[in-house]
């Protein structure tokens, strides 16, 4: 039971991350390959503040998210106006820097020995992990709601315009660089928040958690479900994490000799899935999102009349 609660909590974290990546890449066109880095700043930031400085857990999570957002803002200032490939490499590099610093700064992070223990809030209450699962659920549902609102908002419209043709958007007076920077910082801060929420789930933090496979798992989920569809990310997580990490790992009758190979088999399947999707269904399982704007035009204008030539 505890394991299932853990798995579902983690799946929600993945859904949240995929939703944020949908905003970054699907809406704004920013290829963030450093998801694990921002999530990791939240995770380890929370861990260090909580364990080393006795900051209350929820405060630690919020502080760590703010740090993640600040780092993202600085990175955005430096590289967000470069080419997509440069952004991709730079975010990947940032994630590697975070993972390396966690190993080198032993006095803070415990290095390879690990950092712990981070316990769930509400000590002494029964089913704290279930309560926390509910808390994460609330956060992720909130995220999905905001993301859906964003798509149909004025800001979302500007982000789509920037993704389609940034120069044209700028020529209409949109400060595209600032909009992208702000969007990137906020969404990365929220990735940090999800990282912070993952800290008590893991209880004991080790550098291995910051491996780039998390970034790729989230990307695979996004591409699988459909990057342009705001439910695509969620479907993608069900089809990857939900299928393999929960169903297969919990219920599949794998002989003990092969149990160690299951994660490798999973990643192999992720690779095959990703290749098949991009080759045969590049828009993802859900495909493109249609226009969801007000289609009924307002009654004919009365104030001004149109002159015909």
């Amino acid at each position: 039971m505890d394991y299932l609660i853990f798995s579902f909590s983690l799946m929600l974290v993945y859904i949240g991350l995929a939703q944020l990546l949908h905003i970054q890449f699907g809406l704004a066109g920013i290829p963030n390959f450093g998801v694990v880095g921002f999530w990791g700043i939240g995770l380890y930031g929370t861990g260090v503040l909580y364990v080393e400085y006795d900051v209350p857990l929820l405060v630690a999570i919020l502080l760590a998210s703010a740090i993640s957002a600040a780092v993202a803002y600085v990175l955005a200032l430096l590289i967000l106006q470069r080419s997509g490939q440069a952004i991709l490499a730079a975010t990947l590099a940032l994630a590697a820097v975070v993972a390396t610093l966690v190993v080198t700064e032993k006095q803070l992070t415990g290095g390879v020995q690990g950092l712990g223990t981070i316990s769930f809030p509400f000590p002494g209450v029964d089913g704290r992990n279930a309560i926390f699962l509910g808390f994460i659920l609330a956060v992720v549902v909130g995220l999905i709601w905001v993301s859906a609102r964003l798509r149909d908002s004025r800001l979302g419209r500007q982000l789509i315009a920037i993704r389609d043709n940034e120069e044209l958007a700028a020529s209409l007076g949109k400060d595209t660089a600032a909009t992208k920077r702000m969007t990137f910082a906020v969404t990365c801060g929220l990735m940090g928040l999800l990282g912070g929420l993952s800290a008590p789930l893991n209880q004991f933090l080790v550098p291995y958690l910051l491996a780039p496979s998390l970034t790729f798992a989230v990307w695979i989920a996004l591409v699988l479900g459909g990057k342009a569809h705001n439910l695509g990310a969620m479907i993608g997580v069900f089809a990857t994490f939900g299928l393999f990490d929960i169903l297969v790992e919990t219920y599949a009758p794998v002989p003990p000799d092969y149990a160690l190979m299951v994660p490798n088999f999973k990643l192999f399947c992720y690779g095959v899935l990703l290749v098949l999707i991009i080759m045969f269904r590049p828009k993802g399982l859900l495909g493109e999102d249609g226009p969801r704007t007000r289609t009924n035009p307002v009654a004919a204008p009365t104030g001004e009349t149109v002159k015909e030539g």
């Binding site: 389609d164 007076g173 949109k174 007000r294 035009p297």
Partner: protein, 248 residues
């Protein structure tokens, strides 16, 4: 209203495309900019709106609230002062419908912040009315959908700039790719706005009859320099213009 460039040059690989000692736009209502192919018209338009960085020279814009030096500004800052340009080559937002594209252009950047996510309604009635006003003036195949043809995309590009209500509008070859009747509707709209004092316009065109019909003043650009300026009649009868351009 005055958009002024002095000692403006632009060179690509040592080859000078634009070299203008001094020119001023925007003081005469509806102005035309003509010149042979390769005269540097589009480059000049790009320089004026800060899409292209000049090799040397200064550009300044006065819209009635003091003189803005445009050189250090970015493209969006120039647009916010009130200088916008339509595009010669087709540009568009492929994922936005015609309506959304116009709504985007008319929405002030201030109201596109994070808080707009939680706004009850996305676009005010006022904006919807303006958008409908422009869209219904033209025979789009699907008024509530996407621009279908190249011509429709070009038209949307022009409408985006008109609805944004700039103080000075630069139009880079608005007739290219548009049917005649649509061009006339657009130019009539433009003329009316100019007559009402809502904006000043500079039109870059090869379609000379259109220039003679609509423009109050014409600049002639050849080999990167302004060679002659004057009222349409003066330009029409000028010997240099005739030699260099009209092949007489």
């Amino acid at each position: 209203m005055k958009l002024e460039a002095s000692n403006l040059t632009k060179a690509y690989h040592e080859h000078e495309v634009v070299n203008i000692e001094s020119v001023a736009f925007g003081s005469k209502g509806l102005e035309g900019l003509i010149g042979p192919n390769g005269a540097g018209k589009s480059t000049l338009m790009g320089l004026l709106t800060r899409r292209i960085a000049p090799t040397s020279g200064t550009i300044s814009l006065d819209v009635g609230d003091g003189v803005h030096k445009l050189n250090p500004l970015k493209s969006h800052e120039v647009a916010r002062i009130g200088l916008i340009k339509t595009n010669q080559r087709i540009q568009g937002f492929d994922s936005l419908t015609i309506r959304d594209s116009l709504r985007l252009a008319v929405t002030p950047p201030k109201s596109e912040g994070l808080m707009s996510i939680f706004a009850g309604e996305r676009d005010s009635e006022d904006i919807e009315e303006k958008v409908s006003h422009y869209i219904e003036a033209f025979p789009f195949t699907d008024r509530n959908g996407y621009a279908r043809s190249g011509g429709e995309k070009k038209l949307v590009d022009i409408l985006r700039c008109l609805i944004a209500e700039p103080k000075l509008l630069l139009m880079d070859e608005p007739t290219a790719g548009l049917p005649d009747d649509i061009t006339r509707t657009v130019m009539d709209m433009v003329r009316e706005k100019v007559a009402d004092g809502k904006m000043r316009v500079v039109v870059v065109e090869h379609d000379l009859p259109l220039i003679w019909e609509y423009c109050d003043y014409v600049h002639f650009l050849s080999e990167g320099s302004i060679l002659f300026e004057g009222a349409p009649e003066e330009v029409k009868s000028n010997r240099v213009v005739a030699e260099k351009y009209m092949g007489v």
